[in-house]
């Protein structure tokens, strides 16, 4: 039993949704690719124009639709293309993480980082860390939508 469980855990490949901002983090991810840095393929990227565009309901909906973790990434403070979008995102995600923790959902499943367009290496590191974290936490099935067909 225990060995079977161990195998299951090893085989678990998490589904992670990454909301990357168009101006910094998406370009950072692009740089990681063009620099041929190896990183896990678990993060599915959704490009948003700004990290401030990430409605906290996106995170809840991602969990409902089968994501095991969510990564939100934007420009460093002060570097935002829209001057202060990432500051607003920071408040929102901070509050949302606390709320999730209170509800009994591990707040580590939501991760926020700043990745600039020049930080391909950092992006790869972040993805590696996130994937490891979520692998340890296991699948997120607490309020996943039931399959409809």
């Amino acid at each position: 039993m225990s060995t079977q469980k161990k195998i299951e855990q090893e085989e678990f490949e998490p589904n992670i949704i990454g909301f990357l901002c168009n101006w910094c983090s998406y370009a950072g991810a692009d740089l990681a690719g063009t620099s041929r840095i190896q990183y896990p393929p678990n993060v599915k990227i959704i490009k948003v124009m700004c990290s401030g565009r990430v409605n906290p309901m996106y995170i809840i909906n991602a969990f409902q639709q089968g994501a095991d973790g969510v990564l939100v990434s934007g420009c460093h403070p002060g570097d935002c293309h829209y001057t202060h979008g990432n500051y607003l995102a920071r408040r929102r995600i901070a509050t949302m993480k606390k709320l999730l923790e209170f509800l009994g959902i591990e707040s580590d499943r939501v991760r926020m980082t700043w990745v600039s367009a020049a930080e391909g290496r950092k992006y790869a590191d972040v993805v590696r860390e996130v994937t490891d974290d979520i692998k340890k936490l296991g699948p997120m099935t607490k309020f996943r939508r039931e399959k409809e067909w």
Partner: protein, 328 residues
């Protein structure tokens, strides 16, 4: 304690003013411990107004429900005020709405009532079920509620019937008013909202078990939204079909999404009147979510809702030195 005679006099005076359209207050209901909202359009309507510890409803909902029809050509908008009877928490709701530009200060006349806490209708209903007539409840100076049912007098300690949020109320006096009835209550050191701390002491699995049990019961009647003075969006996100944020089906997944959404949309806005919890037909402890968010917002960002009409909204503003220890 607010004298009803004085209240009626003030309402008569207010509604007789030329610039006031109508005044919203409380009147006795038809049975049990139910109270109704009352609308006075002229001085003679003011007679049925009253105030007692049963008046738990938050009347700040009503000015935003008023339908404003499009104007005909050449017609000018009517600029008349609405009078509202407000307790401490209701006045904070009005401040918060003014802050968000939902109302203007000139639109309302606030008749402030210093509040000693209100009775939780669920608690009193449980104690004296199925009353076919309206029961008057009064508060005496020894922190007891006095009521008469079928010829027998009951004296009940205040603690037993008081609404849970009122025990941890920080602002019993109206924070914004035009007319104040009675003397202001003494500021007292409120208790902590103990249910939040209790939950925080539990492990993460126990907490999810707790909320799963409650969210499973949710029937998505949206009574919490309708009773909330700050849920006044013309189109609520939950009603949208394109994009459909929350599906119509009633199951754990969608119920969780709705309850998280409701709690999050009140982050930095909830003024803890406790109406959502009191109206919930399946007893979901919604105030625990609200109070927790309120506490965290205060700790992390030093922000309290509903105190200053000039302050910027919590989620629409930022400080460069906001905490970011969770970001790596």
């Amino acid at each position: 304690m607010v004298e009803n005679k004085e209240l009626i006099k003030v309402i008569e005076e207010t509604v007789s003013r030329d610039d006031v359209k109508y005044v919203i207050g409380y009147k006795r209901g038809t049975y049990g411990f139910q109270i109704k909202p009352a609308f006075a359009y002229s001085a003679k309507d003011a007679k049925e107004f009253f105030y007692s510890p049963l008046c738990s409803k938050n009347l700040a909902v009503y000015p935003l429900l008023e339908e404003k029809l499009p104007l005909r050509r050449g017609e000018e908008a009517e600029h008349k005020k609405i009078g509202i009877v407000v307790k401490g928490c209701d006045s904070r709701a009005i401040i918060q709405i003014i802050q968000e530009k939902g109302l203007e200060r000139e639109d309302v006349v606030l008749i402030g009532i210093p509040c000693k806490g209100v009775i939780d209708p669920k608690k009193i209903e449980k104690r004296f079920p199925k009353q076919s007539k309206f029961v008057e409840v009064e508060e005496n100076s020894n922190d007891e509620y006095i009521l008469e049912i079928d010829g027998t007098n009951h004296k009940i300690p205040k603690e037993e019937l008081l609404s849970d949020v009122c025990k941890s109320c920080e602002y019993p006096n109206p924070q914004l008013y035009d007319i104040l009835i009675g003397d202001t209550e003494e500021e007292f050191q409120p208790e902590q909202f103990s249910r939040v701390d209790e939950l925080e002491g539990k492990t993460i699995e126990e907490r999810w078990e707790y909320w799963e049990k409650h969210f499973q019961n949710c029937i998505r009647c949206y009574a919490c939204r309708e009773a909330c003075p700050l849920c006044y969006c013309k189109t609520c996100m939950v009603d949208l079909l394109e994009p459909q944020w929350v599906r119509r089906s009633v199951n754990l997944s969608e119920n969780t999404a709705w309850n998280v959404m409701r709690a999050f949309h009140l982050a930095g806005r909830c003024i803890s009147c406790g109406e959502c919890e009191r109206v919930c037909p399946v007893n979901i402890p919604l105030m625990e979510l609200n109070k927790f968010v309120e506490k965290e917002v205060k700790e992390m960002f030093d922000y309290t809702a509903g105190l200053d009409t000039e302050e910027k909204p919590f989620l629409g503003s930022f400080r460069p030195d906001d905490p970011e220890d969770f970001i790596s």
